[in-house]
């Protein structure tokens, strides 16, 4: 059962990833093509169409190769190779993107140097304000406090032989004890707290560290709507992660809680997020027909108002002259970090720590088991 769940999840992620990369070039601003600023209307010209067609062919080919490598990896290294699957596919998709970018670069042009700013009004970015953002932390602390006082009463297969470790939880996604999720609850809670802190930092960043729109009128209104939606989704993700984490850590205490549907729920959440953001369109990528005609006929591309040279490989933004920590992605939806800012590295470190703590905890237990 557990292997079936994992296989379906990984397969779903792979398909979702392939679909996202397939449509990605159509989701960005009209005058940004494969992370390069191009003349308005370039993507509708023969060169643009040809580059897109070749990108998609390479994407299919490389995805199939990645799938073969993935299956071979599982055959050789066992089920532990499963988590590498999406990474292999993303790497393959990135190669296709990078090759397309190289083909677009000869058509690169300078973006507009015109900037606009509204003099009136204040825009509230975080829905519900900071009180809403505190909710997940309160829930997680309440859950940890409950386990602190009642965890020792946990009996049965969830506790270890010495019985004193309230924070022991070797169970899997099916809600039954196994070796897959076998690391301490403390590590799980700290990891979740790390993710929450990172998400809250990004939420704060969307209100204070993100690059200004530099535009007025409908373009500004659309972009601000996109930012508010991203904030709402981030907040929803925080609540979702916390509720899921609280649910999982309570399994040893309440053995009747089922966790089998949680992975599927996470997949649905990711899918809905992508669809909502793609429909909304970042930076006016889904602007009304009238506005689109205006952009297509304007002589100078607006782009994202940053020169191409600051985008390393098309995905990493490094601009010491830009005070913004978060900037609009050039390929994909959402925001990227300005790696010239120390704050960006702190956010990255937090996310990495949150991901690494469970792995390190698992590794420590594994080494301890073999007396290392």
């Amino acid at each position: 059962m557990i292997h079936l769940i994992i296989a379906v999840t990984i397969g779903g992620i792979a398909m979702l990833n392939a679909a996202v990369f397939w449509f990605m070039p159509c989701l960005t601003r009209r005058d940004l093509y494969f992370a390069v600023t191009v003349p308005p209307g370039f993507r509708d010209q023969s060169q643009g169409i040809s580059i897109l067609r070749r990108y998609r062919m390479e994407l299919i080919l490389l995805s199939v190769l990645a799938l073969v490598a993935f299956v071979t990896g599982i055959a050789w290294f066992g089920v532990g190779f499963v988590s590498v699957g999406p990474l292999v596919q993303v790497a393959a998709s990135f190669i296709a993107f990078y090759r397309a970018r190289l083909r677009v670069l000869p058509y690169a042009v300078q973006p507009t140097m015109i900037r606009e700013a509204e003099l009136h009004g204040h825009n509230r970015i975080i829905p519900g304000g900071w009180m809403a953002a505190l909710g997940p932390f309160i829930l997680l602390i309440a859950c940890a406090a409950y386990l602190w006082f009642h965890g020792r009463e946990t009996s049965g297969p969830f506790t270890s032989a010495n019985g004193h470790e309230w924070a022991r939880g070797p169970w899997g996604a099916a809600g039954q004890p196994d070796a897959l999720g076998g690391y301490a609850l403390t590590a799980y809670l700290i990891s979740t707290a790390g993710i929450l802190v990172a998400f809250t930092l990004i939420l704060y960043g969307l209100a204070h560290w993100v690059r200004p729109v530099y535009a007025g009128g409908p373009e500004r209104a659309r972009e601000l709507k996109f930012r508010r939606t991203v904030s709402a989704i981030l907040l929803a993700a925080e609540y979702y992660i916390t509720i899921q984490a609280s649910w999982i850590v309570l399994v040893p205490r309440r053995g009747d809680l089922a966790t089998a549907g949680l992975l599927a729920l996470a997949f649905v959440f990711a899918l809905v997020t992508i669809v909502v953001l793609a429909r909304l369109g970042q930076g006016g990528s889904r602007m009304p027909a009238g506005d689109r005609a205006r952009v297509a006929s304007s002589a100078v591309p607006v782009g994202d108002r940053t020169p191409d040279r600051y985008w390393k490989l098309g995905i990493f933004y490094f601009n010491p002259d830009d005070s913004a920590v978060l900037v609009e992605k050039r390929f994909g939806l959402g925001y990227s970090l300005n790696f010239a800012r120390p704050t960006a590295w702190i956010i990255l470190l937090l996310i990495l720590m949150a991901a690494l703590i469970p792995i390190l905890a698992h590794l420590t237990r594994f080494l301890h088991k073999f007396g290392v």
């Binding site: 140097m113 015109i114 900037r115 606009e116 700013a117 509204e118 003099l119 690059r211 200004p212 530099y214 007025g216 009128g217 108002r305 830009d322 005070s323």
Partner: protein, 127 residues
Amino acid sequence: MLRIDLASRVPVYEQIANGLRTELVSGKFSPGAKLPTVRTLAINLGVHHNTVAEAYRQLASEGWLELKRHHGALVRERDRPQAGPDAMERFSRPLRELVAKGLAEGLSPGSLAREMIETAQKLEGER
């Protein structure tokens, strides 16, 4: 809405001052209204805060703004000033350059005159 062109040869502080003056002349800000702080406007335009501060100082010296430490820039009640003897000269010098640019680009003198009258009437009408 304020609009600047970083590629223009006109200094950015001057562009900001010109843009704000247009808003003030058209009466979009009533006396006592607050303009965005220097820091906010600098961030929103992606320019150094000294550039915005310079524009605010220029408008303050013209009597449009009152600059208060920690309170930002307030729009002042300002009567229509009596034009001095050299006011027209100060106005016509850049205008000559602008008209020459328009003619060089193929616009007719009549259309330029019409545009100028319409713009002045529009600004005056918005007050």
